[in-house]
Amino acid sequence: MGKTTEMKDHHEPTDRSADPGPSDSAPSDSGRRAFMGVAAGVTAAVVAPGVVLHSVTAAPRSEAVTSDVRWGLLIDTAKCVDGCSACVDACDRENGLNLQSKPASAPQEHWDDQKAVWIRKVKLQDNQTGRVTNLPLMCQHCEHPPCVDVCPTGASFKRADGIVMVDRHTCIGCRYCMMACPYKARSFIHEVMEDQLTRVPRGKGCVESCNLCVHRRDFGEESTACVDACREAGHEAIVFGDLKDPESNIRRHLAEMASRQIREDLSLNTGVRYSGI
């Protein structure tokens, strides 16, 4: 999790020092204009390093996302272990979902269905054969996402690199995307948020879902929290990568093993594929 801490540092507000604090330079006899000049100078001196630092860290993010890549996941259900929740726990930590707190008077079971969940484990049994399958389920990052189609303001959108996510500035909290998502992948923030990570801002009244650790994408990192956690747990059931690159790890795996999409009947061309379902 060293990586996580590091990344958090990238995003921690660097302009705290910009707060001049209580000023001890009261207007002198030289007049208001002189004071303004001094104040401007001091402010510039204090703020400038922050601005410069910010522009340096922001450099990789200034490159536009392109459609040369399409990020996706491959999940090998044969390797997904019953009872393991490493991916879920890691996602919760990475995206600050563990910072949600149950309002004191909310009934636990109701709250469990009200708190935001980006990835969950599902255990299935075939009705005919009795075969049991375990798999993680999250936003499937469709090529034709129904949540994007229905969003009245366009807050639900798909990036050029295939990541489907929500613009929290234009989400009005109508929840039509949640009605439209065939995977129940989206969550609504039902409560006032008091604690959150800078890299994953979160506010009451908006909708959100798995964004393939988009903050990692923007810093050129190669994996997602769930993939790392699954590997660290020794299962390697999830592979992340560029679906458009024939040389990528995910494409090599996809070439070797049969895979399917959940709800293929909808022809959404999901970015998350499953083998063994």
């Binding site: 309002p103 109701h110 969950r120 229905v150 303001t153 909290g173 009605m179 439209a180 908006c206 959940i262």
Partner: protein, 417 residues
């Protein structure tokens, strides 16, 4: 036939202000309920990530489709040239605008970020039927106002029929759009049926007319204005036809679903083991909202009693709310079929474990917000009829125009029969 005179609603001030006071109190309580939910967040409601639209949407959608249905009376008079309905046109338009206002307010106040309404008004995604509806709703309001002007102002009269025809098409589009909000959702089994759009249109006919008849009978009775048996008979017969229409669409909807094996579980759940939703369907939607009012409307004796006709209208409204509850909440409660042929043994996010439906229990603030919307609609109507000339002085048989069919067939003398 005499000239139709419209007059303000002149019930005694004490009675009028008491009525306004009660309605304003309900609106105020609704506003408090909104403030509470907005301040705390939606965790205080029965809504969750499984049932994302709750009781406020039941009220909002009911009011919105009723709004377009209430305009029918004006349309019948203007577009279909039925002179008997013409005197009712103004009230029809006013009620329609008022109901839409109430419904939209509830819808907007249930948003997660209601203060961002301006974003919804300025940023559009035209692939979204929701975005289309924003135009359909605001356009409807403008058209109804123009329609009212053309009915009430002599300068507007030449445009009356053109506006009326336009309004009729617009209201059909509006209700189709509202039905399509649900009908276009491929994700959920109970939706994903284009028939929901025309079903909503027919439902709007019935619910809008029931509300219109109740408001008309109440306002007239309060002031002692006469309503003749002829117009009442026509309206209640029309209501009967609309209820039968709702039945027809309900039947075809379920047959459509039932025909595909993949939906057997859904229909079985809804009609037999859906708990509150099964109850709401059979008792609310079918019995209270359909069979009982039909029994009254076509009963040889009861159908002539005003109180019974009013009761039939009330039952249609209760049944209408029940039908919305089943369609909006029941359809969400039924688990989404992501893995056909498999049973979910365990899930970290309530994916219908062992086929279990999602839980939803309406909370008091949700109901109060919905009732606030109803009160807004009635408040606007009450103020409207009081200050402007919306209500005809009399709907007595000898005042109203004769039925045009009778003129053709038998002459005006027997029109009263």
């Amino acid at each position: 036939m005499k000239r139709i005179i419209y007059r303000e609603w002149r019930i005694p001030p004490a009675r009028y202000w008491s009525l306004l006071g009660i309605l304003a109190a309900v609106v105020g309580i609704g506003a408090l309920a909104f403030a509470y939910m907005e301040h705390e967040g939606h965790w205080v409601t029965g809504m969750s990530n499984s049932v994302v639209w709750g009781t406020p949407h039941v009220f909002a959608v009911f009011l919105i489709i009723s709004a377009s249905g209430a305009l029918n009376i004006a349309s019948i008079g203007t577009v279909f040239r039925k002179p008997l309905y013409k005197p009712l046109g103004r009230l029809s338009g006013l009620l329609s605008a008022a109901l839409l206002m109430g419904g939209l307010l509830v819808l907007v106040l249930d948003l997660g970020r209601p203060e961002r309404l301006v974003v919804a008004m300025t940023t559009y995604n035209f692939r979204s039927i929701f975005a289309w509806n924003i135009f359909l709703y605001s356009g409807f309001m403008a058209i109804v106002i123009a329609y009212l002007w053309s009915m009430a102002d002599r300068h507007g009269e030449p445009y009356n029929r053109a506006i009326g025809i336009f309004a009729t098409f617009w209201r059909l589009a509006l209700t189709t759009g509202t039905g399509a909000i649900f009908g276009f959702l491929v994700a959920r089994q109970a939706y994903d049926a284009a028939i929901l759009a025309p079903m909503f249109v027919v439902m709007s006919f019935a619910y809008g007319l029931a509300i219109f008849m109740l408001v008309m009978m109440f306002t007239f009775a309060e002031e002692g204005r006469p309503i003749g048996a002829r117009i009442l008979c026509r309206l209640k017969n029309l209501l009967g036809i609309f209820i039968l229409g709702v039945f027809y669409f309900t039947l075809v909807y379920h047959l459509t679903k039932l025909y595909g094996a993949k939906n057997h579980d859904l229909v079985g759940w809804l009609l037999l083991d859906g708990g509150i939703y099964t109850f709401m369907f059979w008792v609310g939607w079918i019995l209270v909202g359909g069979l009982m009012p039909l029994g009254i409307i076509y009963h040889p004796v009861l159908s002539k009693e005003r109180n019974w006709i009013a009761a039939a209208c009330g039952l249609v409204i209760v049944g209408g709310l029940a039908s919305m509850y089943v369609i909006i909440i029941g359809s969400q409660a039924y688990p989404m079929q992501m893995f056909p042929g498999q049973t979910v043994l365990a899930s970290g996010f309530f994916d219908g474990v062992q086929g279990e439906a999602a839980h939803y229990r309406p909370t008091i603030p949700e109901v109060l917000l919905g009732l606030g919307g109803v009160a807004i609609a009635l408040l606007v109507t009450s103020v409207g009829v009081r200050v402007l000339q919306f209500l005809p002085e009399s709907l007595a048989d000898d005042v109203l125009p004769v039925d045009e069919e009778k003129i053709v067939e038998q002459g005006p003398a027997s029109a009263k029969a």
